[in-house]
């Protein structure tokens, strides 16, 4: 190609290659999509705010009546309801901690070849998955005292949630354990490790790493399921506080809207954290 041609091409298309142009077009399409999503989200938020704006009147022949919220009530009770956030987070952390331990033990038990251990683990999973979480929570708060066992409110809640999530999460750890290849086990045995050392040093650490992103998801689900504990009236977390003030002054709408905003905000924050953790893990140095 002679110099004249090259000059013409540059004038017409710039100095970018075909690949650059295609890449830029892709970026533009992606950006456009994202912008549209954000705009739609904002529109829906505005609509939601409008719905709760309390506007009441007629505009050019249309009469509009939106939901009226008692902001006086919200201001007065905001601090009390928000005070439940710490309890909600605490109970979720403690419960997920218990659930992780139970889930790991159960997953290990389910790959065991000792019949009683295998039986105990499958029995536990079957029992918990076969009954409602709501029932299990009441069992620890209301049924146990009948047998003379009275647990402090928080611990009864943690026990119920932890046992329940442990059963479901054992599946995560089972997948994690089976993600560790047979070669890893053989390499550990070949350098002289005992079975216990092999599990503790090689298999379980790799299974845990595999399980971290799904555990994050479970924690976020737990944040919301912890609201069920409020039904018993012994744990003063977010949901309990909101229903208490709502019922007392017949302002349930305002009270529940407050709680919903707090739950939603917590979920958004922890989802972001979890998402970042996931990207970091998938890059995976370790």
């Amino acid at each position: 190609m002679d110099s004249m041609d090259t000059k013409e091409i540059i004038e017409q298309y710039g100095t970018k290659s075909q690949a650059d142009l295609m890449y830029e077009a892709q970026l533009r399409a992606k950006w456009k999509f994202r912008t549209n999503v954000v705009i739609s989200w904002v529109a829906m938020l505005i609509f939601l705010l409008f719905l709760f704006s309390g506007i009441n009147g007629s505009f050019g022949g249309f009469s509009i009546k939106t939901i009226h919220l008692d902001f006086q009530f919200i201001r007065e009770n905001l601090a009390f309801v928000a005070g439940g956030i710490a309890q909600t987070i605490l109970i979720s952390f403690l419960s997920i901690g218990l659930a992780i331990i139970l889930a790991l033990l159960t997953a290990l038990g389910r790959i065991s070849n000792i019949p009683p251990i295998y039986a105990i683990c499958t029995f536990y999973v079957s029992l918990i998955r076969g009954t409602p979480l709501y029932l299990q929570i009441f069992f620890f708060f209301l049924a146990l005292p009948q047998l003379g066992i009275v647990l402090p409110g928080l611990w009864a809640g943690v026990l119920a949630l932890g046992l329940n999530y442990g059963a479901y999460m054992s599946e995560i750890f089972r997948a994690g354990l089976s993600s560790v290849s047979k070669g890893q086990r053989e390499a550990a045995l070949a350098i002289g490790m005992t079975s216990a050392q092999m599990m503790g040093r090689i298999v379980v650490p790799q299974a845990l790493r595999f399980a971290i992103p799904p555990i994050g998801n479970e924690f976020i689900a737990m944040l919301k399921d912890s609201a069920l504990v409020s039904a018993t009236g012994f744990v003063h977390e977010l949901m309990w506080r909101s229903t208490k003030v709502g019922r007392a002054s017949f302002r349930n709408l305002e009270a529940l809207v407050m709680a919903a905003i707090f739950y939603w905000a917590m979920t958004l924050i922890f989802s972001t954290v979890q998402g970042q953790m996931e990207t970091r893990m998938s890059k995976g140095d370790r």
Binding site: Q184, A187, A190, I191, G192, T194, Q197, I202
Partner: protein
């Protein structure tokens, strides 16, 4: 001197299929023995029976004076197997490095966890063995950032760190890209020259011919021939060995090495 490995009448069944038939062999101290044979001839299984990654069905395995009968059960048997594993170092086809540990941690893992050595001393041993395989520079890397050849050299260092009496190699270059095979074979050759006792299952006929002291030929679970490399490669007696060597020569002459 007493043999490091002595196998007597080893049988191995997978269900009804007999993959090893009455195998008997010995490996002397400082000897390099190569085990060759077609795929499916049972050579990997034979190697894996020595450190009981496969439980032999019959026969006796003796490693450095420690005798273990096949088919044993219970605590005493497990203890014997454990001791055999301490006396043998194993290198796998697929490397099997621990991905959640850095290179130096991989090599230290045996001494620290199994031998309960203190970390300072284990680090020194790990560094020394990484030096031996030429991987000192990658000390703090994680395995998934390394090439297959580098991984395999580290796997060799990991096995050496336990100071085994004999090194078992299970097709150490079969999972490698052709251009990476050389660096691993060079390390193994150096070990051989340093007087390491080695039993090597391999398809690398060049290595078997040039480095080993003795070559064993396995075919369909039977040891069909045994001799020094000179004799096996230039004057094979058994017709199955002849076929194996013939095919190797044909492959070498063909333009496509694969």
């Amino acid at each position: 001197m007493a043999s490091i490995i002595r196998i007597s009448n080893l049988d191995k069944f997978f269900g009804r299929l007999q993959v090893l038939k009455q195998i008997s062999l010995e490996v002397e101290p400082k000897e390099v023995v190569c085990l060759i044979g077609r795929s499916g001839s049972g050579k990997s299984t034979l190697l894996r029976c020595i450190n009981f990654l496969e439980e032999p069905s019959g026969g006796i395995i003796e490693v450095d004076g420690l005798q273990v009968k096949a088919g044993g059960k219970g605590k005493q048997h497990r203890q014997l197997v454990h001791e055999v594993r301490l006396k043998t170092g194993m290198v796998f086809q697929e490397f099997n490095l621990f991905p959640h540990m850095s290179v130096v941690e991989n090599v230290m893992e045996g001494p620290v966890t199994v031998k309960k050595m203190d970390r300072g001393k284990a680090v020194k041993i790990a560094e020394m063995n990484l030096e031996r395989v030429g991987m000192s520079e990658k000390r703090d890397e994680y395995p998934n950032r390394l090439s297959g050849g580098q991984k395999q050299r580290i796997a060799i260092a990991r096995a050496l760190a336990m100071e085994p009496k004999v090194m078992l190699f299970d097709e150490p270059t079969s999972a490698l890209d052709p251009e990476l095979i050389g660096e691993v074979l060079a390390v193994m050759k150096k070990l051989a020259e340093d007087g390491t006792t080695m039993l090597v299952v391999t398809h690398e006929m060049g290595f078997a011919r040039d480095v080993s002291d003795r070559v064993l030929v396995l075919s369909e679970g039977v040891l069909v021939e045994e001799g020094d490399p000179e004799q096996i490669f230039n004057n094979p007696k058994d017709r199955r060995t002849q076929a194996l060597i013939e095919r190797y020569r044909m492959d070498r002459q063909s333009p496509n090495p694969n």
